[in-house]
C-alpha cells in the first residue's frame, strides 16, 4: 500500500517537476512565460498522437519536446523580437494551445494509448519497499531528477549559466558586456518549452495513457506556482513538486476509500494548496525580493 502510494506520488510529481524546471530556466533569464499550460497540453496531444500513429512511445516523447520548443519559439518571437507584453502573450499561448490540442486530439478521444515502459533493474527492483521506488520507475522519472541536477549545475557551476543569470538580473548591463540578451532568452524560453512539452507527454504516455481534452487540468499553472515556491532554486522545485504530488495522490486515495467529503472538494485540494503555498511564500518579502530575477517580465530592446 505505502509503496504504491509513494510510486503514484512520484508519477504525479514528475510532470510538475519537469515543467517547473524548464520554466525556472526561462524565468532566470528574465522571461515570464505563462504559456506553460498551453505548451504542456500540446506536448500531451503530440506525444499521444505521434506514439499512436508511429507505434513508438519514444518517438512520441521526442515529438512532444519538439512541439513544446516550437510553441516556445513562437512565444519568444512575440515577446523578444516584437516586445509584446509577456503576461498577455503567455495567456495567448495557453488559449491557443488548448484550442489547437482540442482540434488535433478530437479524433483520438477514447482511443487506448501507448504507455512508456518502466525501467526494471532486475534484483534491485525486487528489494522490499524501496525496490520499485528507486529502481523500477519509468525512465522519465530518472530523467526529471537528472534534469534538475543538470539545471542546478548549469546555473551555478558554468559560465553559460552565469551569463543566463546575468541576463535575468540586468539585461542592459549584459548587453553592454557583449552578452547576447535576446539570444540567451530565446534559448532559455525554448528550453522551457521543450520541458513543458516533455511534461505533457508524460501525462499522456505515463500518468494516464489516453487523450482527454484539457487533460493538463491546470498543471502548467501549478508548475508556474512551483517556480515561485522554489524561489527560483532548482533543488527546491523537487520539494514543491513532491508536495503537490502528495496532495494530488492523497486526495485521490481519500476519494477511493470513500471519505465522507464530496469528491469535488477533494479534487480542488491541489488548487487550494497552490493558493495557500503562494500566500505563505509571498509573506516573506525579503526572500522573494532577493531571489526574483530582477528583470522578470520586463521587455528589453537593445540600442543599436
Amino acid at each position: 500500500m505505502l509503496e504504491s502510494v509513494l510510486l503514484t506520488i512520484a508519477t504525479a510529481a514528475t510532470p510538475l517537476l519537469i515543467a517547473a524546471i524548464g520554466e525556472l530556466v526561462a524565468e532566470r533569464s528574465g522571461v515570464l512565460n505563462l504559456g506553460v499550460e498551453g505548451m504542456m497540453i500540446m506536448g500531451a496531444v503530440t506525444g499521444f498522437s505521434v506514439s499512436l500513429l508511429s507505434g513508438s512511445a519514444w518517438l512520441g516523447v521526442v515529438a512532444a519536446i519538439v512541439v513544446g520548443a516550437a510553441f516556445a519559439l513562437l512565444f519568444g518571437f512575440l515577446t523578444l523580437t516584437l516586445v509584446t507584453n509577456q503576461v498577455a502573450t503567455g495567456l495567448a499561448l495557453t488559449l491557443f494551445g488548448l484550442g489547437v490540442s482540442g482540434m488535433i486530439g478530437e479524433s483520438f478521444v477514447g482511443q487506448p494509448g501507448m504507455r512508456l515502459g518502466v525501467v526494471d533493474i532486475p534484483v534491485l527492483s525486487d528489494l522490499p519497499v524501496v525496490g520499485r521506488l528507486v529502481f523500477g520507475q519509468d525512465p522519465l522519472f530518472y530523467l526529471s531528477l537528472l534534469l534538475t541536477a543538470g539545471v542546478a549545475y548549469f546555473l551555478f557551476g558554468t559560465r553559460a549559466g552565469l551569463m543566463l543569470r546575468a541576463v535575468g538580473d540586468n539585461p542592459a548591463s549584459a548587453h553592454a558586456q557583449g552578452i547576447s540578451v535576446i539570444g540567451i532568452r530565446y534559448l532559455a524560453v525554448m528550453f522551457g518549452g521543450a520541458c513543458a512539452g516533455l511534461a505533457g507527454a508524460y501525462l499522456s504516455l505515463v500518468y494516464t495513457p489516453q487523450w482527454v481534452e484539457n487533460m493538463t487540468a491546470g498543471r502548467g499553472w501549478i508548475a508556474l506556482a512551483l517556480v515561485v515556491f522554489a524561489s527560483w532554486r532548482p533543488w527546491r522545485v523537487i520539494a514543491g513538486a513532491y508536495l503537490f504530488g502528495g496532495v494530488t495522490i492523497g486526495q485521490l486515495h481519500a476519494q477511493a476509500i470513500g471519505v465522507a467529503i464530496p469528491s469535488q472538494m477533494l479534487s480542488s485540494l491541489p488548487y487550494v494548496a497552490t493558493i495557500v503555498v503562494l500566500v505563505v511564500i509571498s509573506q516573506n518579502r525579503r526572500l522573494t525580493m532577493m531571489n526574483t530575477p530582477a528583470s522578470l517580465g520586463r521587455p528589453f530592446v537593445p540600442d543599436r
Binding site: L34, G38, L74, L78, T81, L82, V83, T84, N85, V87, A88, T89, L91, A92, L93, L95, F96, G97, L98, G99, V100, G102, M103, E106, E213, A217, G218, W221, L224, A225, V228, P262, Q264, M265, S267, S268, Y271, V272, T274, I275, L278, V279, S282, Q283, R285, T288, V301, R304
Partner: protein, 367 residues
C-alpha cells in the same frame, strides 16, 4: 536579415486604430491556411465561419446572447489590465456570480414576485465581486501573485458548481440529471424582442456597462488614476494614489461585471444551473479586452467579433464538418496577432542585413 525595432518618439495614433483590424485580417488569412491544411475549401470555410451566422435574424439574436457575457467581462477586465492587475479568473467569478444569483430561484422556488429578478442580479454582482476580492486581497495584503491565485480559483469554482448541481441543488424532479430545477418565470431575465429571437437583457447591461466605463476611463480623474497606477506605479504613488486600493477597485469592478454576466447567462439564456454553464467566456473575454485595445467602446465591437467566432464554429461544424474546437484555435491565434500588431503602435519595424564590417564603411552606409 534581421528584424529591428525602432522606438517611435510617441505612440502612433494611426496604428492604435489600425492594429485590431490588421490583426483580424491576419487571423483570417492564417485561418484560411489552416482550413487548407484540414483539406477544406478555405473560402467556403471562412464563409460559413464568419458570414453565414450573420444572415438570419435568429442567429443575430444568438450573436447578442453570446456577445453579452463577453462584453460585460471584457470591459471589467480592461479596468484590471489598464491598472496592471492580471485577473485571469473571470471564468470563476462568472460561475460564482451565477451560483450566488441562483440561490433564490433554486433554494426558495416558492418565493415568486417581481423583486426576485433584481435581487438575483444584485446577488450575482456581489458573488462575482466577492470571489474576485480573494486574489485582490491577497495581492494587496501579501503581494501574492494574482495571476495564479485568480486562475486556481477558476478550478475551485468549477468543482464547487459541479458538486452543487450533482448534490444539494440537484432538481428533485429531474430524473437524476445533474442540473437544478428550472427557474420560475419571475427569475428569468426577459427577452428583448421575444417574437424575433432569444436575445435577452444581458446585451443591454453589457452596452450600458461599457458606456459607463468608457466615460469613467476617458473623462474622469478615476480614469487617469487607473492608467497611471497601471503604467507607472511609482508615479501613481507620487500622485497620492494607493496601489492597494486600486488592486481592490479593479478586481471588484471586474468581478462584479463577471458575476453579472454569470447570472444574466443563467437566468437569461439557460434557465437553470448545470455543471458547465460557460464555453470559456471568462477566458475568451481576455481576448475581447485586448482586441478592443482595452477601450470599452472597442470592446463592444470586439465582443461581437468573438461571439461570431463561437457561432461560426458551430455553423462550420454542421455545414462543412470541421470540429467546433477550431473556434478556440482561431481565438488564440487572434490574440497572438492582436499583440503582435500592437507592437507597431510603439515601434517601427525595420529589416536589416546582418552586421558586416561596418566601421570602415562610408557615412552613407546602412544603419
Amino acid at each position: 536579415m534581421r528584424i529591428e525595432l525602432v522606438k517611435r518618439p510617441q505612440s502612433s495614433p494611426l496604428f492604435s486604430a489600425l492594429s485590431p483590424f490588421l490583426a483580424l485580417l491576419l487571423t483570417l488569412f492564417a485561418g484560411a491556411v489552416m482550413f487548407l491544411f484540414l483539406g477544406k475549401n478555405p473560402l467556403e470555410a471562412l464563409y460559413f465561419f464568419f458570414i453565414d451566422p450573420l444572415l438570419e435574424t435568429w442567429s443575430l439574436h444568438e450573436l447578442m446572447v453570446k456577445a453579452a457575457p463577453l462584453i460585460l467581462i471584457g470591459v471589467g477586465l480592461s479596468v484590471c489590465y489598464l491598472s496592471n492587475n492580471w485577473n485571469i479568473g473571470a471564468e470563476g467569478q462568472f460561475i460564482v456570480g451565477a451560483i450566488a444569483g441562483s440561490i433564490l430561484p433554486v433554494m426558495f422556488p416558492g418565493f415568486q414576485t417581481w423583486i426576485v429578478l433584481p435581487l438575483m442580479l444584485l446577488m450575482g454582482v456581489l458573488g462575482g465581486a466577492a470571489y474576485a476580492a480573494i486574489p485582490a486581497f491577497l495581492k494587496a495584503r501579501f503581494n501574492t501573485n494574482e495571476i495564479l491565485v485568480s486562475l486556481m480559483l477558476v478550478y475551485v469554482a468549477e468543482l464547487f458548481l459541479d458538486w452543487l448541481v450533482r448534490g444539494p441543488w440537484r432538481n428533485p424532479e429531474g430524473y437524476n440529471f445533474p442540473e437544478t430545477r428550472n427557474f420560475h418565470d419571475f427569475a428569468v431575465l426577459p427577452e428583448i424582442w421575444p417574437d424575433a429571437g432569444r436575445a435577452h437583457w444581458g446585451i443591454i447591461f453589457a452596452i450600458a456597462a461599457a458606456l459607463v466605463l468608457w466615460f469613467v476611463l476617458s473623462r474622469t480623474l478615476k480614469g487617469i488614476e487607473v492608467k497611471v497606477v497601471g503604467q507607472s506605479p511609482r508615479a501613481g504613488r507620487f500622485g497620492g494614489f494607493s496601489r492597494a486600493r486600486m488592486v481592490i477597485f479593479a478586481f471588484l469592478v471586474s468581478g462584479a461585471l463577471a458575476g453579472l454576466a454569470g447570472i444574466s447567462e443563467v437566468s437569461g439564456a439557460i434557465g437553470q444551473l448545470r455543471p458547465a454553464i460557460s464555453p470559456g467566456y471568462g477566458f475568451t473575454a481576455i481576448i475581447v479586452a485586448f482586441l478592443g485595445r482595452l477601450n470599452p467602446l472597442g470592446i463592444i465591437a470586439a465582443g461581437f467579433v468573438l461571439a461570431l467566432s463561437y457561432l461560426g464554429g458551430e455553423a462550420a461544424q454542421i455545414s462543412i464538418g470541421v470540429t467546433d474546437k477550431t473556434a478556440r484555435a482561431f481565438q488564440g491565434m487572434l490574440l497572438f496577432f492582436v499583440l503582435a500588431c500592437d507592437c507597431l503602435i510603439h515601434y517601427r519595424i525595420r529589416l536589416t542585413r546582418t552586421v558586416a564590417a561596418r566601421s570602415t564603411e562610408a557615412p552613407a552606409g546602412h544603419a
